[in-house]
Symmetry: C2
Subunit: 256 residues, 2 copies
């Protein structure tokens, strides 16, 4: 199966390696940035271009892995109708592709990627959506070759899953960042929290995060929370985050 | 070394098991709740009481592992001067114990504990503070028998570390809870986020959370963030948390 990768970002890079390793033939990489297209294409022994008009018209699958903002800009410049076109966005609806191909859909891998570290796709959940049953079957077959975790979701469900992922991944990471900043002021390394971070995740996965909740907010320990907020006055946003997350923890406990 | 444990909560339970397994003799457990004292004492082959006046006066070490609110209430009822008295709180200052013992200090294990799962202390960082060098030496010797990660911090530093731990553990867990709630509305299990949660922690620990930050807020992708906030209108607190954490992520990126 011949595949064209439109995009050369974190997700495009990881997905194209997974496909190549599963036996797919990546024939071409497009990126607006010449160097990015070249870098990824060379690793995949593919051709490359930064001119959307030069995209190879006879491939079997076109994967548009672009930022949500630029997806339409780029896809509408393609000067032929791709045989099978998918995007990889959690939040964009599938129907965005309707005007640009007969068969289209979404392959959304639920993971955070960086170019520096190529992920093993086997256990990564892949959320699929397609515009008809035949296309759905095709996308399942393709995804099954790179992962064992295939899920079918519509665009609305996928956008909810993406929102959940923002809390679970992006916002969790920011809690780590705030913790690191507080420690840095005392010249203490984040390393000291490693066992706690691991145990927090482990406990949440073993039982459930709701049951695993502990801390001052859970006990409604006003005295400590007041002291903590005083310690955060140097950063009003951190103080607000402390207040609202604490309030939310306590309300959730009460089931409100 | 004979030890009396004052308290029978999550931390008291885990710490007393670690000490017992390291060869310490837990002679007595006190808890206001008779059943809690009995339950823990039986597991440790120790005596127990729910009457603070009945605490064994000749032990070598007294560990007060109580909620911050009740610590002083209980300690001031002890009708003798303990040979060596420590508390286990991250946020309470050491000097709270000054009036109640000649030698005193703090043993603060930086971990989240539950009674249902006895933790291996070996890699748990233990933060120590003591009122004099001899006591400090003693607390280091004791802690060295249960963990390889001993740190000396004063009360002010310890309270900052505790605040960092609230973000890294309690608040992170609440991000997981919100994610689970969003998924539950779609009848999707939190399991689908497991690989993402693991990777998020792994990336933050390998580089740093600041460098590992991704997501719509990091890209300042206003379109998605507006859509996400609309999806959260059913819970104004979640919406506020979304707004302030996103704002804080972007400000941090800009170094403000």
């Amino acid at each position: 199966m011949n595949v064209v990768i439109i995009g050369a970002g974190n997700l495009a890079t990881n997905l194209s390696f997974a496909l190549r390793n599963a036996g797919f033939n990546i024939v071409q990489v497009y990126s607006r940035t010449y160097q990015s297209a070249e870098l990824l294409a060379n690793k995949l022994s593919a051709s490359f271009t930064n001119n959307i008009k030069e995209i190879e018209p006879h491939a079997d699958l076109y994967i548009a892995s672009l930022s949500d903002d630029s997806l339409l800009d780029i896809i509408q410049q393609v000067n032929f109708s791709p045989s099978l076109l998918v995007h990889t966005s959690g939040s964009l609806p599938m129907d965005l592709l309707k005007k640009y191909a007969k068969d289209y859909g979404v392959i959304y891998p639920l993971q955070t990627f960086t170019k520096n570290k190529i992920s093993d796709f086997k256990t990564i959940p892949i959320c699929i959506e397609a515009n008809n049953k035949d296309t759905e079957k095709k996308l399942i077959e393709i995804s099954n070759k790179i992962s064992t975790q295939i899920h079918l979701f519509n665009s609305d469900q996928r956008s909810k899953i993406h929102l959940a992922a923002v809390f679970a991944c992006n916002f969790t990471n920011h809690m780590y960042t705030i913790a690191e900043e507080i420690l840095q002021k005392e010249n203490v390394s984040l390393d000291i929290l490693k066992p706690l971070l691991k145990e927090t995740l482990s406990n949440a996965l073993i039982s459930s995060p709701l049951k695993a909740q502990t801390g001052p907010a859970m006990r409604n320990d006003i005295k400590i929370m007041t002291k903590h907020k005083e310690m955060l006055t140097y950063n009003p946003l951190f103080e607000k985050i402390y207040s609202f997350v604490s309030e939310s923890i306590y309300k959730n406990k009460l089931g409100k």
